[in-house]
């Protein structure tokens, strides 16, 4: 009986938290900026810190994942004498699955955690209160540009990840393992479709972007403003985002590629 009660209480709290986070998201995105020029400036600043500064980790990880995929794929495909198909394997697995998921995971660790910590520290040093006292809405000023920047950056980073992965894979399979260059590219060209493969990957990335950035800014805004509280909130951002990405990926994949 007690277990049922505590389960109910837990569910209730969880629903309340989700509801609050939802209201928070709607409020921060729907409040229109007062001054357009300034909003653009704020957004550009965030695009830089969230997106451009994540480029290196995305490029390097993408290249390595492409290289590993080629090695693994080649060793199996070679048994069937179809090592040219490594191009197809590489492109499809990256575009459909690995790019959005791995990019989102890296993004949660690199950009999400720093967003949470930054906003949490702003709260701890009373900067958010200070905006309020000046009659400036902190949701509009602090949260909205960060959220929008995250949603713009992640899909782009995911595409960059794919490109970097394919080039890394080409380097290994063509340059090192000796797969014929023309066959590598043509098998890719034949099998990759723009709307089913590339677009589905982008849609996934957009969904992950919304979820990861939402979790990051909300955790920062709601954290207990002490050093311990900020630390916990940052950890929660990474853990919750990672779980959400993986679970959501299953749902999206089932919806997109599930009907055989």
């Amino acid at each position: 009986m007690k277990a049922i009660i505590s389960l109910g209480a837990w569910l209730f709290n969880w629903l309340e938290a989700v509801g609050r986070a939802g209201i928070f998201l709607v409020q921060s995105v729907c409040r229109l900026p007062v001054r357009f020029g300034e909003s653009v400036n704020l957004l550009v600043k965030q695009l830089y810190s969230v997106g451009v500064l994540s480029l290196v980790i995305i490029l390097v990880s993408g290249a390595f994942i492409g290289m590993v995929l080629s090695l693994q794929g080649y060793s199996i495909l070679a048994k069937f004498g179809s090592e040219e198909a490594v191009g197809q394997l590489l492109a499809l697995s990256l575009l459909r699955e690995l790019s959005p998921v791995v990019t989102a995971l890296l993004f949660a660790g690199r950009a999400g955690s720093s967003l949470t910590a930054e906003i949490g520290l702003m709260k701890a040093t009373e900067q958010l209160s200070s905006y309020e006292m000046m009659g400036v809405d902190p949701l509009r000023r602090v949260i909205a540009p960060r959220f929008i920047a995250g949603v713009i950056c992640l899909p782009l980073l995911s595409l960059i990840f794919s490109a970097s992965g394919i080039l890394g894979g080409q380097l290994v399979s063509v340059g090192w393992l000796g797969v014929y260059d023309g066959a590598f590219w043509s098998s890719m060209q034949q099998s990759v479709h723009f709307d089913t493969d590339i677009m589905n990957g982008v849609i996934k990335a957009v969904c992950f972007a919304v979820v990861v950035t939402w979790i990051a800014v909300y955790q920062g805004y709601e954290c207990v403003p002490t050093s311990e509280g900020i630390g916990k909130a940052t950890t929660r951002t990474v853990v919750l985002s990672s779980l959400a990405i993986l679970a959501l990926d299953f749902v999206l994949t089932a919806a997109m590629f599930g009907d055989f």
Partner: protein, 282 residues
């Protein structure tokens, strides 16, 4: 008695089950410096947040300039807040902006002044706190005292009618304290501002306050001019003013924890909607 700028009527505020205030009433006269004093944790900062309507009381009303701040709509409230300046304990300067940008920020947000006019006002305000030379520095490069003076320049950027100071003297060296005392007095007199000062620094506060309220245990235990407070015979007031370790406020913390005079800096205050349980707005 002069007009009251802020009138607090029968205010009660609870944090969880703990009463921070119970039926507190006080008035803050217009154009004067009012010092609200009391031991750490009597909810002095909470009072400022209640006045600014960042927190909502459980009972009672607060009128600022004739308006019940807790009954205002969001946009009306933001309008009232433009007439308030607040100096936070930590300064709360925006760390991603330079000193000059910090001071310019409220004007950029709320006025249609040109960049040139804003720059002139910024330089004027920074001059009045003696920091025009620091305009290009970043908040991280400032000493604690300088940061508080910049925050003061920012708080008065829109020429507010009310400036609230949250523990302005805490953690300041004697020279900075002296500078702040002088600045607060000067600003109050030259611009006819109403000032509310929350502090437990007895010497500095009594030296500039026109009107003093002493809070303890969720109640106002004394109210009057600085002279009246100094002459008070109330043992609790005497203990606070003279800093005696034992007296009506016991040295030993009660073991059943049944006190209501702890903690106003102990948790997530204001901004976030999370504290809605405590009655915060937003």
């Amino acid at each position: 008695m002069v007009d009251a700028y802020i009138r607090v009527n029968d205010l009660s505020f609870f944090r969880g089950d703990r009463a921070i205030y119970e039926n507190v009433s006080l008035t803050i006269p217009k154009g004067k410096i009012t010092a609200v004093m009391g031991p750490s944790g009597t909810g002095k900062t909470t009072l400022l947040r209640l006045i600014a309507a960042q927190l909502v009381p459980n009972a009672g009303t607060i009128f600022v300039d004739g308006k019940n701040v807790h009954a205002l709509s969001r946009s009306e409230l933001y309008k009232v807040r433009k007439k308030m300046g607040m100096l936070f304990q930590s300064g709360a300067l925006f760390t991603d902006m330079s000193v000059a940008e910090n001071v310019a920020f409220p004007m950029e947000e709320h006025t249609k002044l040109s960049a040139k006019e804003i720059a002139a006002i910024v330089s004027d305000k920074l001059h009045s706190v003696g920091l025009r030379g620091a305009a290009k520095m970043m908040p991280a490069e400032l000493s604690g005292g300088m940061a508080r003076r910049v925050a003061l320049a920012r708080a008065i950027a829109l020429d507010p009618e009310l400036v609230m100071y949250d523990e302005p003297f805490t953690g300041q060296d004697p020279i900075s304290k002296g500078v702040l005392v002088k600045l607060i007095r000067q600003l109050n007199d030259s611009a006819n501002i109403t000032s509310v000062l929350v502090s437990h620094d007895v010497k500095e506060s009594l030296s500039i306050a026109d009107h003093v309220c002493i809070l303890a245990g969720g109640r106002v235990i004394a109210e009057g001019s600085a002279e009246e407070i100094r002459a008070s015979a109330d043992p609790q007031v005497r203990q606070f003013l003279n800093g005696e370790p034992d007296g009506p406020v016991p040295f030993h913390y009660p073991e059943d924890n049944d006190v209501d005079d702890i903690g106003d800096n102990d948790g997530p205050i204001s901004v976030a909607s999370k504290s809605n349980k405590d009655g915060a707005v937003q």
